[in-house]
């Protein structure tokens, strides 16, 4: 089994008003593995991703600790310590690719700027790597891409260039936030294949944040499901899809559309929508929408039972978790 590349313990993010938007999340990713962090609006996916790297917005307080590889434990409450690991050890790619670029600089210089400046590569090596990444990402002729300005890129292209930018220093841990939401279906699969090959070839550990269970199930080795700021379930992809221990995971599976699914007939749904931060229900946060909710669910919040392979937070989990 591969060595552990990233371990996060008890990650909690609190707003200035004292509302917990992410509560006690534990994650582990091994070298060369992809972990899918799945969640809907307000589940705290993006905040989790940013807090791991100490990049949560000002005014939000993170607690818990993180460890890269076999290094030291670093407190998440000290973003200035985490900053040292940003880039080479741990990279982050955010949802909005346009925000990643300097609008008045050509793409080529932007791609190589940080790695050359930080002495990770010579200019020639950096250019060669950038060109290789561009080819991999289906950007066509790298030379002509390098000459463009960010505003000349289409939505899909800018997402791919942003991915190339993040991959430039070959980070050991990569947190990717919704890398494909602006891409067309065909490019989406391509982009994720590339992210996957980065994990397999370079041994990078990847946390892939997404709301798309279909894509996550295709590309990730393990899945962690967030609901309303809490980890509700994690496990290896195939086992989790085979038997979802938490009713919420089961809901996500049954709501996923399939090409072989029914035509023009009503789909199975659950009522309601995910709660927004600060409007958390009592007891188990999923109980108002849960098809299996019983009295205990509205009164008592289930604790997360973590096993070696799988973990679940449900009073009536349908799959025993063995430690």
């Amino acid at each position: 089994m591969n060595a552990e590349a990233l371990r996060v313990e008890n990650l909690t993010v609190t707003t200035a008003a004292g509302i917990e938007i992410v509560s006690g999340v534990d994650l582990t990713v091994r070298e060369g593995e992809l972990l899918g962090l799945l969640g809907e609006t307000g589940a705290g996916k993006t905040m989790t991703a940013r807090a791991i790297l100490g990049l949560q917005p000002r005014g939000l307080r993170a607690t818990g600790r993180v460890r890269f590889g076999d290094g030291e434990w670093i407190s998440l409450a000290q973003p200035e310590l985490l900053a040292k690991y940003l880039g080479r050890t741990a990279g982050l790619m955010l949802q909005n690719p346009m925000g990643a670029f300097d609008p008045i600089k050509r793409i080529g210089p932007q791609l190589i700027e940080s790695v050359v400046h930080n002495g990770l590569m010579t200019k020639a090596e950096a250019l060669a790597r950038a060109a290789k990444l561009c080819r991999h990402l289906g950007l066509g002729d790298a030379e002509s891409i390098f000459r463009l300005y960010p505003h000349q890129l289409s939505g899909g292209m800018s997402q791919r260039v942003a991915l190339a930018l993040t991959l430039m220093p070959a980070p050991k841990v990569l947190v990717v936030d919704e890398p494909t939401s602006a891409l067309d279906a065909n490019l989406r699969v391509e982009a994720l294949k590339l992210v996957q090959s980065v994990a397999r070839d370079d041994g990078t550990a990847i946390v892939l944040i997404s709301h798309d269970l279909g894509l996550v199930s295709r590309f990730c080795d393990a899945i962690a499901v967030l609901y309303a700021g809490h980890l509700v379930e994690y496990g290896p992809t195939s086992e989790l899809l085979h038997v979802a221990a938490h009713p919420y995971t089961a809901t996500l599976i049954s709501c996923s559309l399939r090409l072989d699914g029914p035509r023009r007939t009503a789909l199975p749904t659950v009522g309601g929508e995910p709660p927004l931060p600060g409007h958390w229900p009592s007891g188990c946060y999923f109980h108002p929408r849960c098809p299996e909710a019983r009295d205990r669910c509205s009164l008592e919040r289930p604790t997360f039972v973590a096993g070696a392979e799988r973990g679940v937070a449900c009073h009536f989990a349908r799959q025993e978790v063995r430690s």
Binding site: G155, N186, H211, L241, I253, L257, G261, R263, L267, R289
Partner: protein, 268 residues
């Protein structure tokens, strides 16, 4: 397919082309000879990558864009948009947050197409519409900020239905929503169409959404129609598909859930 000789289709798009003139007098063809018809109570999905001309086509049908060539007929007549009249073609946009005025109550937004009616009647109709889409009418005076994304999309659908349109154009109606909410909106659109028998044009990038909502599929690429036909013909083609279209189906299969889900009924 409906026989056009016996019934007039609700939407008839005949040989529509659209060319935009950019800077430096360069012309960019956005649509090229697109033709299709949609009968009452039926749905055509328009699928394609970004830049394929999906939005231009829908804007042409809505009368927001004038085709460079060809014609769009709604119930056999060209669409005439007149100030003060509500169009028989209504739209539902991708992002419901942007589609509603944040400073107006939901009631005021939904009542917008009902301006001619007396106040009491208008309010009664808004309550009726909101209950139809599953929003509690007692929340009619709330502003959009008080609603979640899925609820706002329901409000947008209620507004689109306010004038009893012949045609509903949905531009990516579920792609801004969560998975568990997407199914609710799909079910709502299916029920409403069953009840009101409007013709629907659905723009989507997701073939699975097209499959569950649509009768016919139109695949566009660079303004040209690469495939037009029944959904099943696309998924189980009798004859080989165009390479691009086949790829589209394949990538859609490649990105859906990895293995058959545990029977959904187990959830009950």
């Amino acid at each position: 397919m409906t026989d056009p000789a016996t019934t007039t289709p609700a939407i008839e798009v005949a040989g529509v082309s659209k060319t935009f003139t950019g800077r430096g007098r360069t012309t960019r063809p956005a649509l090229c000879e697109v033709s299709f018809t949609v009968a009452r109570g039926r749905t055509t999905a328009i699928v394609g990558e970004s830049g394929a001309g999906k939005s231009t086509l829908v804007r042409c049908v809505a009368g927001l864009e004038k085709p460079s060539a060809g014609a769009v007929l709604i119930n056999g007549r060209p669409l005439a948009l007149r100030p003060g009249r509500t169009s028989p073609v209504q739209m539902v946009f991708q992002n419901p947050v942007d589609a509603l005025d944040p400073m107006r109550s939901v009631r005021s937004s939904v009542a917008e197409p009902l301006r001619g009616l007396p106040r009491a009647q208008r309010h009664a109709r808004v309550s009726e519409l909101l209950s139809l889409v599953g929003i509690n009418p007692s929340r009619a005076t709330d502003r959009p900020l008080a609603f979640s994304g899925g609820q706002l999309q329901r409000v947008v659908i209620a507004r689109a239905l306010a004038s009893s349109p012949e045609v509903l154009l949905c531009d990516e109606p579920t792609s801004a929503l969560d998975v568990s909410v997407q199914a609710q909106i799909i079910n709502l659109l299916l029920t409403l169409q069953e009840k009101h028998q409007f013709a629907m044009v659905l723009v989507t990038h997701d073939l699975a959404v097209a499959k569950v909502l649509a009768d016919d599929i139109l695949v566009l690429r660079q303004g040209r129609v690469l495939f037009h036909g029944d959904v099943d013909q696309l998924l189980q083609p009798a004859e080989p598909l165009d390479g691009y279209v086949a790829d589209l189906v394949q990538t859609s299969r490649d990105s859906e859930l990895a293995q058959p889900p545990v029977t959904p009924m187990e959830m009950v």
